[in-house]
């Protein structure tokens, strides 16, 4: 098992903040809006550096989404920031019609996604956002795993032409991917080559997959671990290549099973290469208050449960 070392815990939303500032420096057409959550989204540095390119939307997400669509017609590249729950569900119709169907170059920056939002509870812990966004034609869906990758992803989506949903989170988590990495939209990242099982993970669950991989190695199980940072477009070629070698799959994500990354992979495999699959995710229930670690444990989204799923799926081969 390849060794991964965290350089210290950092939040992915701070990766977005740093990435946004850098994207702003690279291209003067990059502009930003926020719905009264500048501090939470870590957009402060961009606001300070480019006050004339930042627009406070107030608590009015529907308007913010439409305004961003309009700015793209004027040649701008707007990043709109708010919590994932409000960035998607609240404004689905605006995204669907004015952004996706109109094919506008809007970047939806969605923080505090998933259970790891923690104590605020289920109103804010959206677990359906990936599903909502991946169903929209023209929409790219990205869920990076740590600070460095979120920064790189932010810079990359600014350079990509078209609507993007960029999902990240609140808690400080292990920062283990390379600093100043190049982020390729739609390209699955091989983290560990293995022969016995493929673990596909996204977002915060990638680090859990690595922890699981180390423990599995101690048990003599050789797990291939792949980071699916782009859920749409899915890297079908890389996924099929791996699964044809390992012949069994575990998916892991901080999202509802319905509509998540695992759902996309299961569909791909059932149509092209039917394979035993176990899926780690939230099973048709809302979240609740608690610390991120408590919630990941209660809902079964951690290394321990990935290990159990691997053992189960290998037995099904």
């Amino acid at each position: 098992m390849k060794k991964y070392i965290s350089t210290g815990n950092k939040d992915t939303r701070s990766g977005f903040g740093v990435g946004l500032l850098e994207a702003g420096k690279k291209n003067e057409n990059v502009v930003a809006m926020c719905a009264d959550l500048i501090g939470s989204l870590k957009m402060d540095a961009f606001v300070a550096e480019f006050p004339e390119r930042f627009f406070q939307a107030g608590i009015a997400e529907a308007n913010m989404t439409g305004v961003a669509a309009g700015m793209t017609i004027g040649g701008k590249i707007p990043f709109i920031g708010t919590f994932a729950a409000f960035a998607t569900g609240r404004v689905y119709d605006q995204i669907r019609q004015s952004v996706a169907y109109s094919n506008k170059n809007v970047k939806i920056a969605a923080s505090h996604a998933g259970l790891t939002l923690g104590e605020d509870g289920a109103t804010h812990q959206i677990l359906e956002d990936i599903g909502l966004m991946k169903m929209l034609p023209n929409m790219v869906v990205i869920n990076p795993c740590d600070f460095n990758q979120t920064k790189a992803a932010t810079i990359a989506v600014a350079e990509y032409e078209g609507p993007v949903y960029l999902r990240f989170g609140r808690p400080s988590v292990a920062n283990f991917t390379p600093e100043n990495q190049k982020f390729e939209i739609g390209k699955a990242l091989m983290l560990n080559e293995g022969a016995d099982v493929t673990i596909f993970a996204t977002g915060h669950l990638v680090w859990e997959a690595i922890q699981a991989g180390e423990k599995l190695a101690e048990k003599g199980i050789d797990a291939e671990i792949i980071n699916i940072h782009t859920i749409k477009p899915l890297d079908a070629k890389a996924i099929l290549k791996s699964v044809k070698k390992t012949n069994c799959v575990v998916t892991a994500e901080e999202h509802m099973l319905n509509g998540g990354m695992g759902d996309s992979i299961a569909q791909l495999l059932s149509r092209n290469y039917p394979t035993p699959i176990e899926m780690i995710g939230v099973n048709d229930t809302f979240g609740e208050s608690g610390t991120p670690a408590q919630l990941l444990e209660k809902y079964g989204l951690n290394a321990e449960n990935i290990i159990k799923a691997v053992e189960k799926v290998i037995a099904r081969k």
């Binding site: 502009v31 004339e52 390119r53 627009f55 939307a57 107030g58 009015a60 529907a62 308007n63 913010m64 989404t65 439409g66 305004v67 961003a68 669509a69 309009g70 700015m71 793209t72 017609i73 004027g74 040649g75 701008k76 707007p78 119709d93 605006q94 669907r96 019609q97 004015s98 169907y101 109109s102 094919n103 023209n138």
Partner: protein, 271 residues
């Protein structure tokens, strides 16, 4: 530039062609298309600074249609002003057509800035365009056409708030105030009045005009342009179904298409 009498004649032909296209399609929104025909004529044939042979000209004035259901008048106007051929109007709502039932940006029709149909979104987009023009210090104007029933959508008021917050004096919005929506009179369905006071309270400069008097529409826009530091709203008082006497002010014609027989009668009535 066309004279007022020429513009009136153009509006008449736009009405005839939109009726033909809806009838050919067998479905579509007749009432609102007719009520907006004079506003569209004034905008596309006089007010807008645009180039039909170069739809993406960067310095163009931009118009956002928020009420996508009046696509027939939008398409008929765009065709008459030269964005595409008038013959193409006969493809409205047909499989493979660029003239979707509600405007779709990605279907290749020139002159379309945005997909529209679900109500209450266009004004926000117009605000974004106006902001982008301000950033780039452009002198162009952004126009938006809203319906009156649509003002019941909360997102409209989010947009209204933001336009005045940002002092968008390059934004001019029309309300096609025909006072009717699908289920009846706006004041019975969900009252909008006092409409002008509401917009004034949101920080807009408000004008009213007869939405069927092309000269008055043009003069109102010219006056509106002299007002600085605030967005401008023009309440254009109109009549649903205007131009075809037998269906004027009848909300049953909001979303109904004329049959072949009705079409002949309506065309003979157009004034």
């Amino acid at each position: 530039m066309s004279s007022i009498s020429e513009l009136k004649n153009i509006a008449k032909h736009i009405r005839i062609d939109l009726l033909k296209s809806i009838s050919e399609a067998g479905s579509g929104h007749t009432g609102g298309s007719l009520s907006s025909a004079d506003i569209f004529t004034a905008l596309y044939f006089n007010i807008l600074n645009h180039k039909p042979d170069n739809p993406n000209w960067a310095e163009r004035d931009k118009l956002i249609l928020s009420i996508g259901h009046i696509a027939p008048v939008y398409y008929a106007t765009l065709a008459h002003v030269g964005y595409f051929s008038i013959d193409e109007l006969q493809t409205l709502r047909k499989l493979g057509s660029r003239l979707q039932g509600h405007p779709g940006k990605d279907h290749g029709l020139p002159g379309i800035e945005l997909s529209a149909g679900s109500l209450g979104q266009g004004l926000s987009v117009a605000v974004g365009l106006a902001l982008a023009s301000k950033i780039d210090k452009k002198n162009n104007y952004i126009y938006c056409i809203n319906g009156d029933g649509e003002l019941q959508e909360g997102s409209i008021w989010e947009a209204a708030m933001s336009a005045s917050h940002h002092k968008l004096d390059n934004l001019i919005t029309f309300i096609d105030r025909n006072k009717l929506q699908i289920d009846g009179e706006t004041e019975n369905v969900m009252s909008l009045e006092p409409l002008a006071d509401k917009w004034k309270a949101f920080g807009w400069e408000v004008f009213e005009c007869n939405g069927h008097n092309i000269e008055e529409i043009i003069n109102t826009v010219n006056t509106a342009k002299t007002i600085k530091n605030k967005p401008k709203l023009i309440i254009a008082n109109t009549i649903m179904g205007k131009g075809v006497k037998s269906i004027e002010n009848n909300h049953k014609w909001h979303g109904k298409a004329p049959s072949k027989t009705e079409l002949e009668q309506f065309i003979s009535e157009v004034y």
